[in-house]
């Protein structure tokens, strides 16, 4: 199963990962090898099987709808690279030209 460079670029964009051209080539080849290996799962008959998302019975446990203290804002901001007026500061969403 061979991934094309276009496919690798598409995946990288979805995953928000900037890759160098050398990385694109290397990952195309390595990911293709790994996908070859996992191909063998296709031959397993699973039509009658339920999927296992978790080994435990999944039921989101509920609690009473009561307000409780939350993490202080200062703590939440303390690790950010850039903070302004009590908010996380980011580069312009649409870029500098728009």
């Amino acid at each position: 199963m061979s991934l094309t460079l276009d496919e690798v670029r598409h995946i990288a964009q979805l995953a928000r990962l900037k890759l160098t051209p050398a990385e694109e080539e290397r990952y195309a080849s390595q990911l293709s090898d790994i996908l070859d290996h996992v191909q063998r799962l296709q031959s397993v008959d699973t039509a009658h099987l339920p999927p296992t998302s978790s080994v435990l019975p999944m039921a989101a446990p509920l609690r009473p709808d009561e307000a409780r203290p939350s993490t202080p804002r200062q703590a939440l901001l303390s690790n950010a690279p850039s903070v302004d007026e009590g908010m996380f500061q980011v580069p312009p969403v649409l870029g500098p030209d728009r």
Binding site: L3, E7, V8, I11, A12, Q13, L14, A15, R16, L17, K18, L19, E23, Y27, Q30, L31, D33, I34, L35, H37, V38, Q39, R40, L41, Q42, V44, T46, L49, P50, P51, T52, S53, S54, V55, L56, A60, P61, R63, T71, A75, L76, S78, N79, A80, P81, S82, F88, V90, P91, P92, V93, L94, G95, P96
Partner: protein, 490 residues
Amino acid sequence: MPTPDYLSLTEAAALLRSGDVSSVELTRSYLDRINALDDQIHAFLALTPELALQQAEAADHRFAKWRDAGGEPPPAICGVPTAVKDVLCVDGVQATAGSKILEGYHPTYTATSVARLIHQGIVVLGKTNTDEFAMGSSTENSAYGPTHNPWDTSRVPGGSSGGSAAAVAAGFAPLALGSDTGGSIRQPAAFCGVTGIKPSYGRVSRYGLIAYGSSLDSVGALAGTAADLGPVFTAMAGHDPLDSTSLRAPVPDLTSETSDLSRLAIGVPDEYFIDGLQESIAQAVRTAVDVMKDLGATIKTISLPHTDLALPVYYLVAPSEASANLARFDGVRFGPRSEADSLLESYLETRGNLFGPEVKRRIMLGTYALSAGYYDAYYGQAQRVRTLIKHDFDQAFERVDAIACPITPTTAFTIGGHGDDPLSMYLEDVFTLPANLAGVPGLAFPVGFDAEGLPIGMQLLGAPLNEPTLFRAAQAYQSVTAWHKEHPAL
């Protein structure tokens, strides 16, 4: 009094309780040893001497109060110096998960598993090295350099809890905490000749564990012996409202004095004794099983027929979950950010620059497996095959109480030994992955050495929540053997 180089947790705890040594003295002697020898090993990414001495003083105070006023003695692990894998958060102490994308990150909370141990009086010596985001089987994927195996420093300690395993093996700490998603406690325990517990999924809270694969991650610990780990497990385990996947089941006490294993049925699975398994490992495991038979256990050959599907299932499920879990690392709320003109560019640059190659590979694999048009063929199919793997264990545990099998196909390989071939590294995990996919507990312990003097480990796997059986069998084994008393000459 001078502290011997290698004290087990049980021995250290006895000395603390008898007052022969204080926690402050013990802590200082471990810190001195680390400072003298860790540049050969690189088990630690950071030491926390001020925090450690503060906690040691508090522990000594608890012992003093008890000696003066009587009453309940301090907990078994009070005052015990402990190393913490750098994927577990400790409030105010840098946590990197072995990655540059979390360089400088100081958590504002402590993982529940660690907090419970701190409450019982452990002393945090520092954070240990790990493969980046726990993705790896050698600790070579750490962005901060590899850890060296104390038995042979040209070799890996295993991974991803390589720093923790090496710390215990090198006598840098009698106890180290780790995590196991595909074998990351058991495999380094095997390579370093120490004992490690991967609890049942849901048994120990994952709150404060930097997530890799949420349906697979398990917090656990490493020490010299199973007896050492009993009180640690009991302290860490149990329901946590902060982890919606944590179980409400009561936590058992694991102390076991017996060496009588009659009424214990141990299964040995055919599928683990394959051609690729190093002969000395197969021998050592079979010999260990014979020891348990001599102690009264009944040995049965069993089959786990879908064992060879565990690798492809894991390398679809784990990366898929990781691609979701690592989406939060965007340079906005924690960690460094790469310069960029737009928000999108800053995501692309930050993640592209600051994630290492193995992490990027797994994120991309997961993104692909979950993407439109491929989800059902890859991730969906993997989830359905996972059901078969879990079912293999359910069926086996109807016939036996525990499964005994090898942990690794070979003993510790050399640093750089797998070159640039990710798939060959993934094959290291073939014997450990099934337990994570099925959510069952595994206890790893040393059962011998190969011709080069490298440790060999064996694991006992149990039904979910059956840690008591695993501990009983391992403690019995360790009461009549001495592999766990061997130490590397550093």
